[in-house]
Subunit: 417 residues, 2 copies
């Protein structure tokens, strides 16, 4: 058992942060035991790691990102989605047929995730089975938890990366066999998106998900051209989400990224099917896709969390993604003639931490009994000229903290940075 | 005479970058002599600083920022403009009555500007004369060039910071007397904005500008509530800009920040009066003010450059402001149902460099005869797994470069970092 001492800031509810100044958070066997303004007498002997005046925050959950797009971070962003995929992205992903290359890139990605304070992920790999296992291995070694998926795509892609239907099925099974060795990183079925999977493949993935009780991740209603394309491919589906739902790919263990153009009917479907939305504001703006109506979704009771969506997103750091979500919500406010409320910093923080953690079975904020996931932020290198409250310093950290300011990271109760 | 060797990327025209790979830029007496793929024979003896494979870019121009708001960077951004001014900003600025405090904060700000590659500024100080001179001194010592203004405000402010009309005039003259010692940082008249200056004061500032041939900076049409307020205060003016124009504060040597809600008539007035617009996208979004129609302005021939507008903006780094301008333009594209073109990376770079430099009398890009202002970017700490062109590396630097990646900065021909 041990304790961390510092200014503890967590988000037990959407829109509310709880601050314990110069407080203690106690950890027992990797799990949070409690938060205290003063260490109770019974704990007087335990090891206390004193972070003094620093900020102790929940670590971040990145609910949607593409590992094989990491080498193109910050590039190609003058292109719209479908063109960007064809001329840039597929070629970048194709390079992951080389295992040595994959290992080198993924080791670097895992390190940068840890350095940035992201300890829980839902991540797309590429179609390559071996590279996917290598990715899972690098994440697990680095101490990151969550889900990774080998991508399935058997149509409408670039020949350099497209699978046959048979190959996609066979390789998915081979990949799942290789996942047993991992304890913190688990497999997630990953049909890329409706246009890149035949009906036969989607149906097979749906059966497999049911048979093995596996979670699912994909993309939904990101871009208007993409939505028109889905309508052509699935004339029987009134809306995009139905192309997943009819194959059992739209339920409680599903993450759907983007959901930019969901109307009331599609939002109601997200809610009634208990799907979690991964809102990816940086990517949606970079690719000029649109701004997801997440205020409406949240008010309707849909679970919304955040994703960096690298490399449509140009920021791996989830503090930057939270700030991006806040800015996107302000754009939405402007767009709606100031009728829609923007996200407060407290709300953005909740979406980047607690909201994602719930998908992995965590409770709210730093909750007793949950595995301990946290970052320690040292803001002493920022301009500290004026008197500031912990709340102000917390807000500033969301807007300004760089990975250099994140001086410690805990994942599953273990210090990994 | 000396030369820099590296990958030279500059923006001689809006939307075009010229790249000279492994080229040379020669500097004679602080001024650019030329750019060469190979060093001509006549220059064979000169000192060459070899930046090998690094990127040599134009340094950045920040055409609108508030120095005394630096201590509140990244804070208070859940508030709208007028409330944010009253409850947060004026109090932060009031602290600059303390000269020791001012010196400490401004030395830090000057260093961070240099570290971020900003070498030319148009900057607001506070109302405080002594602190303004201290600010100019710190900027000059750090090697930064441009304009700084003591703020005038004699109504509608917080008592902690408001001047009387007489005091504002007297202190402005005292400040101007103190400016003679500076060679790189020059004074710029700075009526805060129409609501905080009486007509008497605006008239006096207009006469002074004319008499001493001084440049002027202020705010225009940032926020709808502000615009209504100006209408009440100046019922004789059909539009906001006229409240400046009638006092001679709206001409070729004027910077107007924001211009978010300018309609066609106001845009035509900006054009015909040759006013330069400082577009501040990060700030305009943080304060949910709106998105300035800069594509339209540029098409109409208005001069548009960029400002960080700290601390409405949360980023001092102009690479982040350029990326913010690109994102804001993509929002504008979304808002206009994909009818408005977004800013390409090349266009954003032009706005953050050449467009601002022109206000200071510079020509286009790295032009022969202009004083040399440049940054050297080392992107070797980024993920360099795949083959990349210099154009791709340039784009990535705009999106991702941190001050740590800016390894050298030249201002007025002198290496200042």
């Amino acid at each position: 058992m041990y304790a961390l001492k510092g200014n503890i800031v967590h988000a037990p509810k959407f829109g509310e942060v709880e601050i314990t100044e110069n407080g203690f958070i106690t950890i027992d066997d990797g799990r949070i035991e409690g938060i205290y303004p003063k260490l109770p007498d019974g704990f007087s002997g335990i090891h206390v790691i004193d972070y003094s005046d620093k900020l102790i925050l929940q670590s971040f959950c990145d609910m949607h990102l593409h590992a094989p797009q990491y080498p193109m971070l910050g590039m190609g962003l003058d292109l719209p989605l479908l063109e960007w995929l064809k001329t840039y992205t597929f070629k970048t992903e194709a390079a992951f047929s080389d295992n040595e290359y994959a290992k080198r890139v993924y080791a670097r990605l895992a390190k940068e995730l840890v350095d940035s304070g992201t300890t829980r992920v839902c991540m797309f790999s590429s179609v390559h089975t071996d590279a996917t296992v290598l990715l899972m291995n690098e994440l697990e070694k680095a101490g990151i938890t969550g889900y990774v998926g080998k991508v399935n795509m058997d149509r409408n892609s670039d020949p350099c990366i497209q699978e046959t239907t048979e190959q996609s099925m066979r390789e998915t099974l081979r990949w799942l066999n290789g996942c047993d060795v991992f304890t913190k990183i688990k497999p997630m079925l990953t049909p890329r998106f409706t246009p890149s999977c035949t009906n036969e493949l989607l149906e097979w993935i749906g059966s497999l998900a049911k048979e093995r009780n596996l979670p699912i991740q994909s993309h939904l209603s990101e871009n208007l051209a993409e939505m028109d394309w889905v309508k052509e491919l699935h004339p029987d589906c009134e809306q995009y989400w139905e192309s997943y739902a009819k194959y059992g790919l739209f339920g409680e263990r599903t993450i759907m990224a983007h959901c930019v153009h969901c109307d009331d009917r599609e939002i109601a479907a997200l809610k009634s099917n208990k799907v979690t939305v991964a809102h990816c504001p940086d990517s949606n703006i970079n690719l000029a896709s649109g701004i997801a109506p997440i205020r409406k979704m949240i008010e309707c009771g849909v679970s919304v969390a955040l994703g960096s969506d690298i490399a449509g997103g140009a920021h791996l750091s989830m503090t930057e993604v939270i700030a991006s979500a806040i800015r996107a919500s302000k754009m939405k406010r402007i767009q709606s003639e100031w009728q829609t409320e923007f996200l407060s910093v407290a709300e953005g923080y909740y979406l980047g931490t607690t909201a994602g953690a719930k998908f992995f079975g965590f409770k709210d904020g730093f909750a007793s009994g949950d595995m301990f996931h946290a970052v320690v932020i040292d803001d002493s290198n920022m301009c500290n000229a004026k008197e500031m409250s912990v709340m102000e310093r917390f807000e500033r950290s969301i807007y300004l903290a760089k990975k250099e300011d994140i001086v410690a990271v805990y994942s599953d109760g273990i210090k990994i940075k």
